[in-house]
């Protein structure tokens, strides 16, 4: 397990089991299937890999990100994040635990009354104990990495879809999370932009590979080469697709 760089993040490491898989979906009921564990969705995401779950709108794939973040609870089954059953954590413990995770929600989830730059700074300001100068430094680093320099001062409504997506990803990466959950991250993006975003997402600050779990309705061929495992969600089950 990587050591947290901020003492404020130490609290987040109180949860979970050392050496456990970053993300495990255990017998989830995604659709109205006959109630049998064999008919339920099970998937384990290995450390340092990029795993994608794809499926139609009504396949239940859209719920996986929220389940992984503990923002929603599956009717049946459970989700283990670093060995902790995230759906069972009390509210405040869950908030603390999420500092180990990054999340790019469907759309972008940016706060409309803040500039893109302030959106990126948000988790550093409120969910870490970095000094203000350190926060500014990290934000500048992310702004540059995501090519947002010219638009960082704009509000989300003043920016285009690609810049908003880049800013939302930068925000999700701000605390350098071990596990990144992305919901439909490439919608509306060119293949080139999608590749660039995924390359940023898949690498941590110290250069080690990050665990990334993403959901989408479909994936562009050019992006597939960066993904270790693609799983199609169909009839409530996970079926591996050839890479």
């Amino acid at each position: 397990m990587n050591e947290p760089r901020s003492s404020f993040l130490v609290q987040a490491y109180a949860f979970g089991v050392e050496g456990a898989a970053p993300l495990v979906f255990e017998a989830l009921d995604l659709r109205d299937q006959p109630d049998h564990p064999a008919n339920r969705f099970t998937l384990s995401v290995e450390p340092g890999t990029v795993v994608a779950a794809v499926g139609d709108e009504d396949s239940g794939v859209g719920d996986l990100g929220r389940y992984a973040m503990g923002l929603a609870r599956p009717l049946k089954g459970r989700v283990l994040v670093f060995g902790a059953a995230i759906g069972g954590l009390p509210y405040y413990d869950l908030l603390v635990f999420r500092r180990r995770l990054g999340y790019l929600q469907l759309g972008d989830g940016l706060l409309q009354n803040l500039s893109l730059k302030d959106n990126i700074a948000l988790p550093l300001r409120y969910a870490s104990d970095h000094r203000l100068s350190e926060v500014e430094g990290r934000v500048a680093q992310l702004v540059e990495a995501m090519h947002l320099g010219a638009v960082a001062h704009l509000r989300p409504a003043q920016s285009n879809e690609e810049d908003r997506r880049r800013a939302a990803l930068a925000r999700a990466l701000a605390l350098d999370p071990e596990l990144l959950v992305l919901e439909a991250p490439f919608d509306g993006l060119t293949g080139r932009a999608a590749i660039e975003i995924l390359e940023h997402a898949a690498r941590r600050l110290d250069g080690t590979p990050r665990t990334v779990f993403l959901t989408a309705q479909d994936l562009h061929t050019s992006v597939r080469r960066l993904i270790a495992r693609v799983v199609r969600v169909q009839d409530g089950l996970a079926q591996d697709e050839p890479s």
Binding site: A12, Q112, L122, R125, Y126, A127
Partner: protein, 260 residues
Amino acid sequence: MTAVVAALGQPWARRLSVLGGLARFAFRAVRAAGRLSRTGRFVMLRVLVNQIRFTALQAIGLVALLSAILSFLVIAQSVRQLGRFGALERVGTIMVVAVIRELGPLLTALIVVSRSGTAIAAEMATNKVMGEVTALEAMGIDPFIYLVLPRMLGAIVSVGCLMVVFDSVALLAGYVGAATTGVHLNRYASLVLATLSAKDVWITVAKGICFGAAVALFCSYHGLAVTKGPTEIPQAVTRGVVGTIVAIFIMSAIFVAVTA
């Protein structure tokens, strides 16, 4: 019979449930203060200053205008009426008890509700509908720290400061009202100061805290209670404002009962 009792009791049960929800909401807001990071405290201070600018600074003109008109009318009329019965010394009591102790805090809070309470409820409801509250929670940020706490502190400080503005303008305008009927400044000052006591200062401070907290809590609570979509936003604003107004009047009555 059971159905009748149930039908009668249901609205009250719902109101009690809202009160319980509000109490939990207030407790969470206060508890959130202890969870702020070092940088979070600094950033929240900046947000707080902004809140005070919107809530207090930009409302000074309106508060001063209403205070001046109200005080002028009340004192000018009172001096005329009381003078006829030779009870001019009661002007001080009317100024302090009616204007400064009761109407001042009440009107100030109503101005803040109408200007900032509506904004708070609408903003919170929009935050909720746009998925921004979920985004905060996903980042590990307690929405109470980011959204509710600065608004609550901002409203408390703002209502308190605006009450001071209201009272100061009221005292001056009261003099103008009295002067139009021939009362000299020294006489007016001595009548008012004879009635004014330290208790009035403490009551003003207490009302500032209670009314300010009520504005922020009621409006935030109803704003964040939105679940379905944008069409709920105006309803949330209405519920927040009406709830705050009722709460402020009830609290005023309690203050009178307790401090009498």
